[in-house]
């Protein structure tokens, strides 16, 4: 069994190089298609991250009465933290809020008129982030029931609805596009390998006439397909690695807001995707192609 595998791999290696023109054509197609797939996957991942980031921004803001009793305030905070829908609760003091406001004005280059103010017109607030942006109902109800502490609740209700609809839509579109691109890549690669194997139909026919069993013919082709996939995947990864840093810097310089840093987890997933898709499609393509000549 092992001998057979070793032997088949050796024949696959020979086959790859002796039909170098076709192998390289197939590999080149593989590379381009994997790049396309990886590109879409990155965009999809980035989109998801961005959407998550936007959704995280969705929160319920409770303006607090300046004279709210500290213990009641504390209790409200604790209750909120205990609610299953709530992701985080942050207390922002009115001084903090004013500082933030000034910083923002400055960043925008606008004149800071807040210096002329006698008192700080901004309230203390509680910023409540939700685990699921759609679950704001209970939180708002609860806050509305605390008039001593809370002066006003701004659930940004409509905004929430809109954002959720938009992000869900974009997510769906992203997944659909990714699936379509995936199918395209699948078809193109299988088709390319089919054409490459077609040019060797005569070879397969002769092997059969000389008494080669189906497995004997098939396995070298399958390993050859795997080689095409593996080579293609490796080169794709190299290209991605080379392109990654400048692209990331460029993106980062632009979308300062979005956390488009790719962590090691993303890199691992991407590597798995590219190598898996490459080898998988290579094998599938070879299998399908050879099968059509063996079945007759």
């Amino acid at each position: 069994m092992l001998t057979f595998v070793v032997f088949s791999v050796r024949r696959a290696w020979q086959g790859f190089w002796r039909n170098s023109l076709m192998s390289l054509a197939a590999t080149a197609t593989m590379i381009l298609m994997l790049l396309l797939l990886a590109g879409f996957w990155i965009i999809q991942t980035g989109l998801n991250a961005g959407l998550q980031f936007i959704e995280q921004k969705v929160e319920v803001v409770a303006d607090l009465n300046d004279n709210a009793p500290a213990d009641q305030l504390l209790q409200v905070e604790t209750t909120l933290r205990g609610m299953p829908q709530v992701a985080s609760v942050t207390f922002v003091s009115k001084d903090q809020a004013l500082q933030d406001f000034r910083a923002r004005l400055k960043a925008r280059g606008q004149e800071d008129l807040t210096g002329y103010l006698d008192t700080n017109p901004l309230p203390n607030t509680l910023e409540i982030k939700l685990k699921n942006p759609q679950d704001y109902g209970n939180v708002v109800d609860y806050l509305d029931g605390q008039p001593t502490v809370v002066s006003q609740v701004t659930p940004i209700q409509n905004l929430v609805n809109q954002v959720v609809t938009v992000t869900n839509f974009l997510r769906t579109v992203g997944v659909v596009v990714l699936i379509l691109v995936g199918l395209t890549v699948l078809f193109i690669i299988v088709n390319t390998i089919r054409l490459a194997v077609f040019a060797r139909a005569e070879e397969i026919e002769i092997m059969r006439l000389v008494g080669a069993s189906d497995a004997f013919i098939r396995w070298p082709f399958i390993f050859e397909g795997a080689m095409v996939g593996l080579f293609g995947a490796l080169i794709t990864l190299v290209v991605l690695a080379v392109v990654a840093t400048p692209l990331q810097e460029f993106m980062y310089g632009f979308f300062r807001v979005l956390p488009l840093q790719f962590g090691t987890l993303v890199v691992r997933d991407l590597t798995l995707l590219v190598v898996g898709a490459g080898v998988g499609l290579g094998v599938l393509g070879s299998y399908v192609s050879v099968r059509s000549y063996l079945i007759r």
Binding site: R18, E203, R208, L209, G211, A212, S213, D214, F216
Partner: protein, 256 residues
């Protein structure tokens, strides 16, 4: 496998009828019963062919161009299926053989194709070795066997060349080497000397005769009148898809 079995030099029925009687005591390597083959385009290449070849026989298959010799050979290795009748190889009905069994049956036979059918991207050596590899012969036994058979057909010097780098005759000899290398019990050769000069032709024929004497059955389609007439072996004549004669000790041309 019993390539060296003592069934070697067989006595054949000596009548020159259309169909030698089947002596049940002999094992039949090949048997065609009422076989007809009509190609999908409607051309009837074989009609009512009855033919039996006992083990150890040496048979020349002769007939004009287009008579159906190659078609008959294609039926024997199940490259084509008969449209009527039975084709038995070693007692197995090829028409009923499941697809998966076909390679095993083909490996029993050494076949020289009229158009050689060499693997275009393998060297002479690799082409010949391929016939051993498909049988699962261990690598260490392949080398010596291939070298030996290449020396037999005079291609030792061309072992590393690709088929496209060979002369016509060298290609033909590669095909012959591949058919012999795995010591098959049956050798089917379709016009194996068409591109060989008379000297090498005779050498190849002598080689086949020697192999036949060791017990291997040989069926050879040929136009080489000189060889057929000189050897006086069994001659099966095809014409227009029909067996028109089956003589032991016959000449290339009909002698009546």
């Amino acid at each position: 496998m019993a390539p060296g079995s003592s069934t070697g030099l067989l006595r054949h029925p000596t009548l020159a009828g259309d169909r030698p009687p089947e002596t049940t005591s002999e094992r039949l390597v090949l048997a065609l019963r009422d076989v007809a083959k009509t190609y999908p385009n409607g051309r009837a290449a074989l009609r009512d062919v009855n033919l039996t070849v006992p083990e150890g026989d040496f048979v020349f298959l002769v007939g004009p161009s287009g008579a159906g010799k190659t078609t008959l050979i294609k039926l024997l290795i199940r490259d084509e299926l008969a449209t009527a009748g039975q084709v038995l190889l070693d007692g197995q009905d090829l028409g009923r053989l499941p697809r998966r069994q076909v390679p095993r049956v083909r490996r029993k036979v050494g076949i020289v194709f009229q158009d050689y059918k060499l693997l275009p991207r393998k060297s002479v050596w690799e082409n010949v070795a391929f016939a051993l590899e498909v049988t699962g012969t261990p690598g260490r036994r392949i080398g010596p066997a291939v070298d030996r058979v290449l020396r037999l057909v005079g291609l030792a010097a061309q072992a590393r060349q690709l088929p496209t780098q060979l002369s016509g005759g060298e290609q033909q000899r590669t095909a012959i080497a591949r058919a012999l290398v795995h010591d098959p019990r049956l050798i089917i050769a379709d016009e194996p000397t068409g591109n060989l000069d008379p000297l090498i032709s005779w050498e190849i024929i002598q080689l086949l005769l020697r192999i036949n004497e060791m017990g291997t059955t040989v069926l050879m389609a040929t136009h080489n009148a000189e060889v057929v007439t000189a050897l006086r072996k069994r001659v099966v004549g095809l014409e227009d898809g029909r067996v028109v004669r089956d003589e032991v000790g016959g000449a290339y041309h009909r002698e009546d």
